[in-house]
């Protein structure tokens, strides 16, 4: 079979993406929190000398859609007809994971179970008999430890074999009443269901569970089916005294846990460092202060490290710039382009990378240890005061890395209202590009305290705006429901791979753009074009914000990528010594304005896709207003004190 399609499906945080990355190279972002993959990733890979397509689905707790990620996974499974499903099961949560396994078995596709995270299960005192599990399910089971690559070869060999043989697992059997109700609906569907890839049984079960999307799908195919579904559901409710969805999911729960009881033995697990750490990290008294301490040290470590590397590099590149200027005078076209290129290169190496690398590494550590969901837990009641709940903390924290994945991460929120508000707030969070600007301008020339103040100001604005938007919009989510995964020591290899993935983004996309823009700016200056732009923007830059006119053109470039503002600024003033052109008040005004104003092009693009053009427009307009108001406020605050 040419180009067999293997789909990895499993519950959130079961290690699917880790297995995917082990086979496909590091492409899917992994982290230690549920919902770190919110869309699917596709890759070609060689498995035992065959080329196959591997799809990493977002983590799903069940095949009933409760959030955007689950809807996406379900739609993919129903519409793309995979050749094999590799169901990644977290061995430490066997019973719960099997509830998804049972649902996947109803899809009527060849399947292999990867019994993953066996090392962690052993640590928790859980022994699982994988042969007994395979016998109970009637599906091949391969023990794996994805993080160390153990068992993956066997896993994919089994997957290929299952895909070639096309042996489909038998459907699980639920209790008598459920089976009777399912049969009742299935019988009605059958005549219209001959050539369908997914069996009628699957749809019958989901319809009885009351999944509105499935019922809608069925209605178009078999008119009047909803009456039969209602009858079947009513029968179940009468027999059990519970709503039909609870009876079905309860029955599945019972089957799953019965299998678990049969194949797993629980010993008393050790109370390890994880448990002890959580007692302190989540303690009512120590949890909050520790979080503040962790974030504060993160900030200072990145700043200290970055500054250490930046200073000698800047001195070196200033020397290089002066030498280039002496060889090719800046007044000539060649000279001005050469100057632009040198500035572009040096800006990337000397100003962006020293802060970007430690920052990305630090963020990767926060993500991989599993601290983010703990922050959601600690900050839940604060977020409630804003009218949101703790889960919004995850996209907001990711926003410190890059707004693009952060906006996508809002998919983990259940209510559309919460998604819209969180999206608006996420784009205001200073991403790593803006962090570079804060550190390289305010931090480097005015001191770390001032840089810290920018972050505090930012949080105050985000908090205030969140409260305001929440009070205006209806449809509040019921509250926080979030799995808190075990703490984990991050693997150095994954941390580096992850940092590299983000860094490569900068080197491959941003840097060429940076150097190109520098050269363009050089030509613009030579042709006196930038003067026109600066002139046009001067009402805002000079009159309102009190900045030198040369920053005008930098703000335009900044829409492409935020780093460009500071790099263009350096080029426009002709030295990496920003203090030569801007007073401290101007540095602060400039930085605050740049942090808040219009999201970059990539963010606008992802917002258009995630929340639509209306929300994108008002959010972007709002950021410009906020940036201007704050810029003016900072300007006059400095004038007064």
């Amino acid at each position: 079979m040419e180009g067999m399609r293997i789909v990895l499906a499993g519950q959130p945080n079961s290690g699917k993406s880790t297995i995917f990355n082990a086979v496909a190279g590091y492409r899917a972002g992994t982290a230690n929190f549920p919902g770190s993959s919110v869309s699917y990733t596709l890759s070609r890979a060689m498995v035992l000398g065959r080329e196959v397509n591997i799809v990493d689905l977002p983590g799903i707790y069940s095949l009933t859609s409760t959030d955007a990620a689950e809807r996406e996974a379900l739609t993919y499974l129903l519409e793309n007809d995979p050749d094999v499903i590799v169901n990644v099961v977290d061995a430490t949560r066997l019973g719960r994971s099997l509830e998804l396994t049972l649902q996947l078995m109803d899809l009527g596709k060849p399947m292999v179970v990867a019994l993953n995270m066996l090392d962690e299960a052993r640590r928790k005192g859980i022994d699982i008999d994988d042969r007994a599990l395979a016998a109970s399910l009637g599906v091949p089971v391969v023990p794996t430890i994805g993080r160390r690559g153990q068992g993956l070869k066997v896993l994919f060999r089994e997957a290929l074999r299952a895909g070639l043989s096309q042996i489909v697992p038998a459907s699980p059997v639920y209790d008598n009443e459920v089976e009777r109700a399912v049969a009742q609906v299935e019988r009605k569907l059958e005549p219209a269901w001959k050539a369908e890839p997914v069996p009628a049984r699957f749809f019958a079960i989901k319809a009885i569970e009351g999944d509105p999307e499935v019922i809608e799908r069925l209605r178009t195919r078999v008119p009047g089916i909803e009456v039969i579904v209602e009858q079947a559901a009513a029968g179940l409710e009468k027999a059990h005294g519970w709503t039909a969805d609870q009876v079905v999911s309860g029955s599945r729960h019972a089957v799953a846990h019965e299998i678990e009881d049969r194949v797993a033995v629980f010993h008393r697990g050790r109370v390890g460092w994880r448990e002890m750490a959580d007692r302190v990290l989540l303690h009512p008294v120590t949890g909050g202060p520790l979080m503040a301490l962790i974030l504060f040290s993160f900030f200072y470590a990145v700043f200290g490290l970055g500054k250490h590397i930046e200073d000698p590099l800047v001195a070196m590149f200033d020397g290089l710039g002066a030498w280039v200027a002496s060889v090719l005078p800046p007044a000539t076209l060649a000279g001005t382009v050469a100057k632009g290129v040198v500035m572009g290169v040096s800006g990337g190496v000397a100003i962006v990378l020293p802060y970007l690398i430690p920052f990305l590494l630090g963020l990767a550590i926060l993500e991989d240890t599993g601290y983010l969901p703990r922050m959601a837990y600690i900050l839940d009641n604060l977020m409630h005061r804003m009218g949101l709940h703790g889960k919004s903390v995850v996209p907001l924290m990711l926003g410190y890395g890059c707004s693009v994945p952060a906006v996508m991460a809002t998919r983990i929120l259940e209510s559309p209202r919460d998604r819209r508000i969180t999206t608006a707030l996420t784009v205001l969070i200073p991403c790593s590009a803006r962090t570079t600007i804060i550190y390289a301008v305010v931090g480097a020339y005015m001191g770390a305290g001032w840089a810290f103040l920018v972050y505090i100001l930012n949080l105050v604005v985000v908090g205030g705006l969140g409260t305001l938007l929440s009070s205006r919009m209806k449809g509040r989510a019921p509250g926080l429901i979030l799995e808190i995964p075990d703490l984990r020591l991050p693997a150095a290899k994954t941390l580096l791979a992850k940092t590299w993935l983000s860094l490569r983004e900068f080197i491959v996309i941003a840097w060429p753009l940076l150097i190109g823009s520098s050269a363009v700016l050089g030509v613009l200056e030579w042709a006196h074009g930038s003067g026109v732009v600066n002139e046009l923007l001067s009402p805002l830059t000079v009159i309102v914000l009190g900045l030198p006119a040369v920053v005008g053109v930098t703000l335009i470039f900044g829409i492409l990528r935020k780093e460009l503002t500071v790099l263009m600024l350096i080029q426009a003033i002709g030295t990496t010594n920003i203090a030569a052109a801007l007073s401290p008040a101007q540095m602060m005004t400039f930085t605050v304005f740049v942090v808040f104003y219009i999201p970059c092009v990539a963010t606008i693009a992802v917002m258009l896709r995630e929340v639509g053009w209306k929300d994108t427009t008002w959010i972007s307009a709002m950021t410009v207003v906020i940036a201007t108001v704050l810029g003016v406020a900072v300007r006059f605050a400095f004038a007064l004190f």
Partner: protein, 96 residues
């Protein structure tokens, strides 16, 4: 499950166990809790309670889940482990 003392998950002290009797509220919350392994008849242990009406951290089948107070209030429970081990759809052994 009648005679036993009914309260909500919000009120259970740290370190105590409780058995789920009912999940009130819409199908959305119920589904979400079900998928995380919380069903009627299951025993839950309260691990931690955040201050100032913050969320409750519970342990269920070896998994830890944070539930906002609003959600915890929707989970009716009886204190103790095996009190309501009969009858509910998730109570397991009564099935099949």
């Amino acid at each position: 499950m009648k005679g036993a003392w009914m309260t909500t998950l919000e009120r259970i002290e740290i370190g105590r166990r409780a058995t789920v009797v009912e999940i009130v509220g819409g199908a959305g919350v119920r589904n979400h809790l079900n998928t995380l392994g919380i069903h009627v008849g299951d025993t839950i242990r309260v691990v931690e309670r955040a201050p100032f009406h913050g969320p409750v951290l519970v342990e269920i089948h070896g998994t830890r889940v944070a539930l906002g107070r609003g959600v915890a209030r929707k989970v009716t429970v009886t204190e103790g482990a095996e009190a309501a081990r009969t009858g509910g759809p998730g109570s397991g052994r009564g099935y099949r």
